[in-house]
């Protein structure tokens, strides 16, 4: 047997390629895979120790580029727990709008994105175009399209702009109307089926072995393990939604779960619009003084939220000063992205490697943090 060493990545910034995998292939088959993380390493955790508690807001969204809001949320939840502050009621609901819009955006990008590795770019264009409408909403609410810096410790940075709920309803209606089309085009498309159905399997035993969470876990084990349900934060305990599950996890199943989750997100957002208090405060100070001297009481805390890829958590240690003593990030894709690639990518074909990375939910910056 002759082996050839090929490189997946790290040449492409922004998609699967920026996480490098050395593949030893025999013909088309991957025999051995070596993940080489670090090409996106910017030392987020260390950088956070050198910045003010508020200054970190500019940094943390960059840990996961396409789904930045979860970072802001766990960071805020951690500080709120340490400082023992109550977030105003309205802020909880606004946060849910942001988080669910974020989930819709990344699922849209992911479902469309499958067109990349499968070679059907129409899906990608459609997905990205739909996501852009959500980014417009983000721009109106937060002032930025990608790095929102909107969920801040103690609440949200500004109240919702006027008329935003009407805009939101419009986008949701339009998205809901388009979703069956996307399903038709992408999830039921014979070409894509050929590529991803019964491909890239994730057995329940691997879930337990690696510690995979999120859609990976739910699709393989049937467990309704969604932090929004099992350990609700914000006001997820006051809205109704289902956690879609399956017991057979191939790439298609996982895409289907994402699709179903989008329907649930739309359902949550509709309830939020109905149930959120029409006015009231949206932010409480977590520390006296100016932002240059905000302090967080000494202590340590682990907070986690349900990201699109699974449990996403921060372990925050404060020594009572103006900057964090230590923050460790639990990236949701760490388990499958680092250990999983090495152990379970071999056995697949070269052209499946990208699909593997995509549907297993590997977001490289959160491994390289």
């Amino acid at each position: 047997m002759k082996e050839v060493k090929l490189f997946l990545g790290p040449q492409h910034p922004g998609m699967h390629g920026n996480y490098s995998v050395h593949m030893y292939v025999d013909g088309d088959m991957i025999k051995k895979a070596r993940p080489t993380p670090g090409f996106l390493h910017r030392g987020f955790e260390k950088l956070m120790e050198r910045r003010f508690w508020m200054g970190n807001l500019a940094l943390i969204p960059r840990i996961c580029v396409v789904e930045p809001d979860i970072n802001e949320m766990v960071y805020a939840m951690g500080i709120e727990a340490l400082a023992d502050v109550d977030v105003p009621e309205r802020a909880h609901w606004i946060r849910m709008i942001i988080l669910e819009l974020g989930r819709l955006a990344i699922h849209m990008m992911s479902i469309g994105g499958i067109g990349g590795p499968t070679g059907m770019y129409t899906a990608t264009y459609w997905g990205i175009a739909q996501r852009d409408l959500i980014l417009d909403l983000f721009e109106k609410i937060t002032g930025a399209r990608i790095y929102h810096m909107y969920i801040v410790p103690g609440g949200v940075r500004k109240d919702l702009p006027e008329g935003i709920l009407e805009d939101l309803a419009k986008v949701l209606d339009q998205l809901e109307k388009n979703l069956p089309e996307y399903e038709e085009l992408i999830l039921r498309h014979p070409i894509i089926h050929t590529r991803i159905k019964d491909n890239i399997l994730l057995p329940a035993s691997v879930v337990w072995e690696l510690g995979v969470t999120g859609i990976g876990m739910r699709s393989a084990t049937g467990a309704k393990n969604d932090l929004r349900k099992v350990k609700p934060y914000a006001r997820y305990d006051q809205v109704e939604f289902d956690v879609p599950t399956a017991t057979y996890s191939d790439a298609l199943t996982r895409m289907n779960l994402k699709y179903q989750e989008m329907h649930q997100s739309i359902r949550i957002l509709r309830q939020v619009m109905e149930k959120m208090p029409p006015d009231g405060p949206v932010r409480t100070a977590f520390s006296p003084g100016s932002a240059l001297r905000y302090t967080v009481p000494a202590g340590m805390v682990y907070t986690a939220v349900e990201s699109s890829r699974g449990e996403y958590g921060y372990f925050i240690v404060s020594d009572g000063k103006e900057k964090p003593y230590r923050i460790a990030v639990r990236g949701a894709s760490y388990a499958q992205g680092l250990l999983g690639i090495e152990k379970y990518l071999p056995g697949y074909r070269i052209d499946d490697a990208s699909i593997w990375m995509d549907t297993m939910g590997v977001c490289s910056p959160e491994i390289d943090r």
Binding site: R51, F52, M54, G55, N56, L57, A58, L59, A129, Q130, D132, L133, D136, E139, K140, I141, T142, G143, A144, Y147, M149, G155, V156, R157, K158, D159, P161, R188, P190, H193, V282, R283, A285, S287, P288, G289, S290, A291, L292, R293, Y294, T295
Partner: protein, 606 residues
């Protein structure tokens, strides 16, 4: 999901030709850009007329994208720095924290999406209100109440309730540790206060020390420029707070009270370690200081840190001058004064009391015995108002009265003779000191009080601090704004009251002091004593005629060079009230400057 489809199904795609596209068709995005949302965080715009150059934006910036740059041609204004923020868009992350924390509300972000240039330098620029493309783009992201990153509300300090008027107990109770730490957290450490303080105190540094709970460091920072920490922590005129960056949108940081917190809460070891750390052995020469008021004490202390042997001559029985005999006990307790003076004594300064220069010892003798002499004799005489009846023995003056009150309170004199009804002329802080001391003595003697104040200025023009008026009214003062004293009515050799007339204007058309009155509005303020507190003036008994001619200015002050040296008499230096007019912090500042000037002169003279 293998569904069989019609062979015509691809034709369905035609329907997309007739749908409205989600993408926008723009011919030229630079000329005709898509409009951003109202909160869009684009490029910075800075209203340079509002910006005070405090640099808080630069401090909060998480990417170090903002540097403070000296601006050529900027006219220096009090309370502003001569620097303005410049932005490096190679580093900026467009987070907008700079906008949220801007102390003067000058900074905002525009709605522009794009900056395209082949010149890399254009990505580093100092914005004005027109922004990076100099075309007054619409404002995008702006701070609002929710996104506020400053703490605009000052920590409240506990104070005695109005029943305090029957005693001389200190009114302000000081900050607790928690309150002080929270107040210190409001500071943005811009240093505009330092530039404004006459003594250039290291204010951000000692506030930082409060925040870090490092009392020794705090004391050291204070004593670097001010050896009257207790006094200035209580009765300083706090020019620093007037220019505080936070005061542009909120209440200024309580700088004076934080200084007081340090001196009140520092342990004895921390206090001494901080206060005496720079005092050195006697190695240099001998200097005489005339007058032990703020400027004399300050000069003496700093000469000690420079290694000089210092003797301070004081005409009264106790050192301290205005802080010992002027300020009222309820603002400045004896213990605080004692603490400051004893620390200066511990630094090795020798006090020679009951010795009036010009009477008990001449200036010439001092010149002969010492290498240099510093004059800090202050304003020790009350200015009289020569209205009919002013020579009556029951017309009393602020300075001797306040001194007798202090002497009485430290058991060194009898209780001052105070009648049941009194009238005070004057509207400055000293007038309120007199009036409120009178109230306390009347309460003590008669159980009731009646003090009228005739103030020439209207309420808006009042010279005294607002808190003096507020507290005085609480204590039952009867304040008559814009009433000018005309005469003292005397019946059977007893004062009956003060005739006052409504003031129309204080200054004439040329801006000279020349009050005009509305003769139709007159009244008599009843009282059997009249206290004059319209100002103080210096006494120069120690100067001979020739010196008077040479050194006194038109206003009766002493003309000095920058360091306090007197021209024609290089061995003679002056500071304090007689150089700059009455203000304790000015005294401290000029005393310190003179100490440095004396050192320089002695070290460089041939």
């Amino acid at each position: 999901m293998n569904r069989t489809k019609s062979m015509f199904s691809p034709i369905r795609a035609w329907e997309y030709l007739f749908r409205e596209p989600v993408t926008l068709h723009k011919k030229d995005v630079f000329v005709n850009p898509r409009e951003a949302s109202d909160r869009y965080r684009g490029f910075h715009q800075n209203d340079l007329s509002l910006c005070i150059g405090c640099g808080t934006c630069s401090e909060i910036c998480p990417t170090d994208a903002i540097s403070m740059v000296a601006v050529e041609g900027l006219i220096h204004e009090e309370g502003k720095k001569d620097e303005r923020p410049a932005f490096d868009y190679g580093r900026c992350s467009f987070c907008g924290l700079c906008v949220d924390i801007c102390t003067s509300d000058s900074l905002c972000m525009s709605k522009e999406y794009i900056h395209l240039s082949q010149d890399p330098d254009s990505f580093f620029y100092l914005p004005d209100a027109s922004g990076i493309h100099e075309k007054e783009a619409d404002k995008g992201y702006q701070r609002d109440e929710v996104s506020e990153l400053l703490d605009l509300v000052r920590q409240k300090m506990d104070q005695e309730d109005p029943s305090r008027k029957s005693s001389f107990v200190e009114i302000m109770k000081g900050y607790s540790k928690k309150e002080a730490l929270e107040e210190a957290a409001r500071c943005v450490a811009c240093g505009i206060c330092t530039d404004t303080c006459p003594a250039n105190m290291n204010i951000p540094e000692y506030i930082r020390a409060v925040f870090d709970d490092d009392m020794e460091e705090g004391m050291r920072q204070i004593y670097k420029t001010n050896p009257l920490a207790n006094v200035c922590g209580r009765i300083c005129t706090h020019k620093c707070e007037e220019v505080c960056a936070i005061s542009h949108r909120g209440e200024p940081v309580a700088i004076r009270w934080l200084k007081r917190y340090l001196v009140d809460h520092a342990s004895e070891e921390d206090y001494e370690a901080g206060a005496l750390s720079s005092v050195t052995a006697f190695v240099q020469g001998k200097v005489a200081v005339v007058g032990s008021g703020p400027s004399g004490l300050s000069c003496a202390y700093y000469l000690r840190t420079l290694g000089y042997e210092v003797s301070v001559y004081e005409s009264q029985a106790l050192p301290g001058g205005v802080i010992r005999y002027g300020g009222p006990e309820y603002r400045l307790p004896e213990a605080s004064v004692l603490k400051d003076i004893s620390m200066i004594e511990k630094a090795g300064v020798q006090f020679i009391c009951n010795t009036k220069v010009g009477v008990d010892i001449t200036l010439e003798t001092l010149h002969a015995e010492y290498d240099a002499v510093f004059l800090g004799t202050g304003f020790s005489l009350s200015r009289p108002l020569k209205i009919p009846g002013y020579e009556h023995p029951d017309v009393l003056y602020a300075i001797p009265f306040l001194a007798s009150v202090r002497d009485y309170l430290r058991d060194m004199g009898p209780i001052p003779v105070v009648d049941q009804k009194a009238v005070v002329i004057g509207g400055g802080n000293v007038a309120f000191d007199v009036a409120r001391s009178l109230v306390r003595l009347q309460e003590k003697l008669y159980g009731t009080s009646c003090v009228h104040m005739a103030i020439l200025e209207s309420r808006d023009q009042m010279l005294a601090d607002a808190e003096e008026l507020e507290e005085g009214l609480e204590e039952g003062l009867q304040v008559h704004f814009a009433y000018g004293p005309q005469s003292i009515s005397i019946v059977d050799d007893r004062i009956k009251g003060l005739h006052v007339t409504k003031v129309q204007s204080i200054f004439d058309a040329e801006g000279r002091f020349n009050p005009s009155y509305d003769q139709t509005d007159q009244k008599v303020l009843e009282g059997t004593q009249v206290y004059m507190a319209i100002g103080q003036m210096p006494e120069y008994a120690y100067l001979n005629d020739e010196m008077r001619d040479r050194v006194l200015t038109k206003r009766g002050l002493i003309a000095v060079t920058d360091g306090g040296q007197i021209e024609g008499y290089p061995w003679l230096f002056a500071g304090g009230d007689i150089v700059r007019g009455p203000d304790i912090i000015n005294g401290v500042a000029t005393g310190h400057q003179a100490a440095k000037a004396i050192d320089l002169w002695l070290q460089t003279k041939p």
